[in-house]
Subunit: 212 residues, 2 copies
DNA sequence: GAATAAATCAAACGTTTGTTTTAATATGCG
DNA sequence: CGCATATTAAAACAAACGTTTGATTTATTC
């Protein structure tokens, strides 16, 4: 090998291009071109274009979800032992903080956030199912943990408020770095910490709002 | 003409397919096949595939945004005359209520909501620019009206809270009708009224939350 | 009813797509 | 060295894409 792992270069290039152009609009020729690899390299190392997408998603999403899972389960554990409810804000933070902090963790990370933020609304069944399969466990865990934090909330309200929150998060993830409409007086690119603070602060009160 | 307007049938078919499969994944052959029209009909009536998308978007989005604009401007007017701030909830409702109520207005309306809910995160520049051009005026108007309602809020906070809200709304729009993860005890498809109430209720407190 | 315009049609265009095949090259090991 | 395995390279594949063409049918106008 001349350069670091072709496999790695393909993952990096695919992540970047999938995020910028979308999965279907990105050709294997564009990916292998950017990665300075041969066209057949994708088939050789991954098997297919879809398998490449799966690898791109898993590379970052599995560790990220593991962190989220650990933080959420630690919250449940601590709450159960001390006999008090986990604070809503802590539950939201356990899910959101790793996501947006992740943004500054490396070169392709920001692109990856766009990719994931868009995957949640993906029209293609194969892609959405792949993404949902990766997200379902953590989704159900935060749903349950929010139930611990807000036991008086009905299942339906909790479900929809969680989805409103996921929508706000994914939208924030997509928006980071690509603004289309910027009114005067608005900082173009907040720090990850500030964005997390704003988002958690916004969602917390929504989650805890009385139902009527 | 054998059937009602080919142009109309093309719009309906395209709306449905764009929503279900996405713009790039929908072929002109699929559209003209569903519309029972000739392949060249799109070129003849609209000029191109992109122009067809523009027509699909404008057909519903222009009237919808007109309603939103009227309601928002009526709020500003009433507030200015009475000397009190427009209520945050009313501002949100002016924007959201027409959207979700629209869902029950016709056959393709629900599909259209998915299409629009996804367009906001669209990777393709041409599509996103087209959508943004249609949405920019109403976006700036609600941004200003929220400024009337919440003058103590900083521009940056107001901007991001608005985006969180748009994310929640677009996510709710995409989700309507296609659930992937349904915990027990959750109603699968709330009425538009109920969904609006939940969403507005959720966003209102987030908008009005203290900054720290 | 002839002449003009509007609409539809089947067929083919050149390109690009993901995939596959076959050959060449580098690498590791005894 | 020589063999075997892993990787890269180049070329070709059929299929699908949006677009275009030129002929034909339908509708409108004088």
């Amino acid at each position: 090998m001349s350069q670091p792992d072709t496999k790695q270069r393909l993952l990096d290039a695919a992540e970047c291009l999938f995020a910028a152009e979308g999965f279907h609009s990105t050709s294997l020729r564009a990916i292998t071109g950017k990665a300075e690899a041969n066209l057949a390299a994708v088939k050789y190392h991954f098997g297919s274009k879809e398998a490449l997408l799966e690898a791109v998603l898993k590379r970052r999403l599995v560790p990220l979800n593991r962190v989220r899972q650990e933080r959420l389960e630690a919250l449940r554990m601590a709450a159960r032992q001390s006999g008090v409810r986990p604070p809503t804000e802590a539950v939201l933070r356990a899910f959101i903080e790793p996501t947006l902090a992740f943004r500054d963790s490396g070169a392709g990370a920001e692109a990856f956030l766009q990719l994931v933020g868009r995957a949640i609304a993906e029209p293609d069944d194969t892609i959405r199912n792949l993404f949902m399969q990766l997200m379902k466990p953590i989704f159900l865990l935060i749903y349950d943990t929010l139930g611990d934090a807000l036991p008086e909330l009905s299942d339906t309200e909790r479900f929809w408020r969680l989805h409103f929150s996921l929508g706000a998060l994914s939208h924030a993830m997509c928006l980071v770095g690509r603004f289309q409409i910027l009114p005067q007086g608005v900082a173009p690119r907040p720090e990850a910490d500030d964005l997390t603070k704003m988002l958690v602060n916004f969602l917390k009160v929504g989650m805890e709002a009385p139902c009527d």
